[in-house]
Amino acid sequence: MNFSVLGVNHKTAPVEVRERFAISESRLPEALARLTAMDGVEEGMIVSTCNRVEIFARSQNGNCDLQKFVRDYFGFSAGEYEPYIFEHQQLEAVKHVFRVASSLDSMVVGESQILGQVKEAYATARAVGAVNSQLDQLLTRAFAVAKKVRNETTIATSSVSIASVAVELAEKIFGSLTGKSVYLVGAGKMCELAARHLIAHGAKKIYVGNRTYDRAVALAEKFDGEAIPFDRLYDTAPWADIIISSTGAPHTIFRKEHGEKFLQARKNRPMFFIDIAVPRDIDPALNDLDGIFVYNIDDLQQVVASHIGDRRKEAVRAELLVEEEVRKFEQRAQTADVVPTIVSLQQHLENLRQAELDRVRGRLGNLSPEQEMAVESLTRGIINKIMHTPITTLKSAARDPESTTVVDVVRKLFNLRTEAAPMPAPVAIVPAPVRQPAASAEPAPPLAASQNRK
């Protein structure tokens, strides 16, 4: 289990540094080819998003120089970006993969995008054959852990942006937003953003009212909506289920008496007012009316803050889950490391026994069944006695970080060829075929980072 990960992310490096590391999607296969062509690197994967560029690798003996890869590939001079780069080995690397996939390492903890991005990076690496055995298992496990974290904690259930909180509240009032209508009062950027979110969740009709009619028309066109002259605001407002207001008016636009009229016109069907204007457009007294719900920018921000708090609490639980999964992965990988050796050792000695038996059979002459059995049990007994100590040593070594050394020693002592090892466990010890070192021999052309900004 010789995994390592190296890279930069939003925790270690500012965007100016991260963009120098970015690798565009089209260049990924080539970068992967060069990564896996490096000495000692068996498998590799590269995740490159706007918040992180991370290089995952598995090496045969744990000493692959990913720093060198970064220097060569990007054409950095030694020590240039070193303070920004983080590196994890072995279990730390495993844990890092799990945390990244579970969105515990994200800027907004619990966001779901990162899992998709890691899956994409995995698919690319798999397609070019850069991921094929142990790293594959690690990533498959990481996706399972991510799923578990999402299912068993509420880390990803609450929204943490104002627009998505507005959608969430609207859904709590109206259920599905399908077919609901939205009225934008004022043509500000925030209005537009919130409207986009609502439309994405099924809202159908968009009305836009603005003091400058032309701007209303321009915004309405974007959503295929309807611009309404500002003087008709109070007549048309009851048409909408959701009203988002963001005008620059110095006084309130919607007051309690308006709300009463709206409710009458709507036969008391509920209305949701979102006030993102400062100073406020909507009189808070409107909230006292049965069936009208008013949220201003502070209310929305408060919901966001409490959701972030909830996520933080859940993140603690999620971290524990990840720790446990790392331990499980470690155990599985360790036993998987020694099992092939034990099997091939057994097979090797059994082959010897059979060969020796066949050789002396002619000299033994005809044996009675009892004698045949005695010879069998005698030879088997000897082999079992010989194998006992090496096997127990191997098994106990599996719990030890030194296991690879012991495995090597046993293999050397008994002259076990790696090809002879069958693959009973998911993790095979068979090394990947030797790669052509041609690609790595070429000097890496320095890359203009601006080309592959993401």
Partner: protein
């Protein structure tokens, strides 16, 4: 034996009730793991108890107050299960389970009533009781939804949602649910009351109208009608509708309780 099943069901509903109360404050995920199977099992025992009663003592036995109570509780529990499957929420449990528990509990500890003879009354009484039980269940459902509506809208206005309210269906869904319950329950209530009056008129003459239960039932029907009317004409929701529905529920409870006062509703052969 039916009584044993009923008592087992009562205990299992009790588990559901405890969970419903716990859920008001906490997330109650752990107790939910026990409560959900307990309630399901309770419903099965409950159903067995009613069927066995009918088989052992005849259908007429189901018309006694205690078995009618038991049947009403079962119908409400089944409605709750339906809501749970449809909306994936157990929030109504906080209102539903106290009633389900009280009804089954009352039924489980009640004295064995005198054997009644329905033969004289014929199938009309059976029809009367069944439609009314369903009407009551629907009325209760609309009452529960107006309470849920009230709680959720208040929390939305205060901008704080408790974990309990967060699991409720959306406000409009609750509203539609209550309205549908009213629409569905009203015809049953009306037909049931009509059937009852026809039979009573025949047996007791016009004097039946002076019976307390009859009067309360009429009042209940009147409020039922008002509820529907205000909803149709003015779209009453939220607070006003909740007050009216609570009043209707109170009268319904009195009308049900009047069973113990009413001479007409003993169904004993004179």
């Amino acid at each position: 034996m039916p009584l044993v099943w009923l008592r087992v069901a009562t205990v299992l509903y009790g588990v559901g009730l405890v969970h419903a109360i716990l859920m008001l404050r906490q997330k109650g995920e752990r107790s939910g793991r026990i409560a959900a199977p307990a309630v399901c099992l309770g419903m099965v025992f409950h159903f067995v108890s009613l069927v066995e009663t009918a088989v052992l003592y005849g259908y007429a036995e189901l018309l006694t107050i205690r078995h009618a109570e038991s049947a009403l509780a079962l119908i409400i529990a089944v409605i709750f299960a339906g809501l749970y499957l449809r909306y994936k929420t157990a929030s109504p449990a906080a209102f539903i389970f106290p009633l389900v528990f009280i009804l089954t509990f009352a039924s489980a500890i009640a004295q064995h009533s005198v054997t009644i003879s329905s033969s004289i009354f014929g199938g009309w009484i059976f029809f009367h009781v069944c439609t009314l039980i369903f009407g009551y269940a629907m009325l209760f459902l609309s009452f529960v939804s107006s309470l849920l509506y009230l709680v959720l809208s208040r929390q939305l206005k205060r901008k704080q949602t408790s974990p309990w309210a967060a699991r409720m269906p959306a406000l409009q869904e609750i509203d539609e649910l209550g309205y549908r319950a009213l629409l569905l329950g009203f015809p049953f209530m009306t037909i049931g009351l009509l059937a009852g009056s026809v039979v009573a008129e025949e047996r007791f003459g016009a004097a039946f109208a002076a019976d307390p239960k009859v009067l309360l039932s009429l009042l209940m029907w009147g409020i039922y009608l008002t509820l529907l009317y205000t909803r149709w004409s003015a779209g009453w929701r939220g607070r006003k509708a909740a007050y009216l529905a609570s009043f209707a529920f109170l009268v319904a409870v009195c009308a049900w309780g009047a069973n113990y006062l009413s001479k007409l509703h003993r169904f004993i052969a004179p």
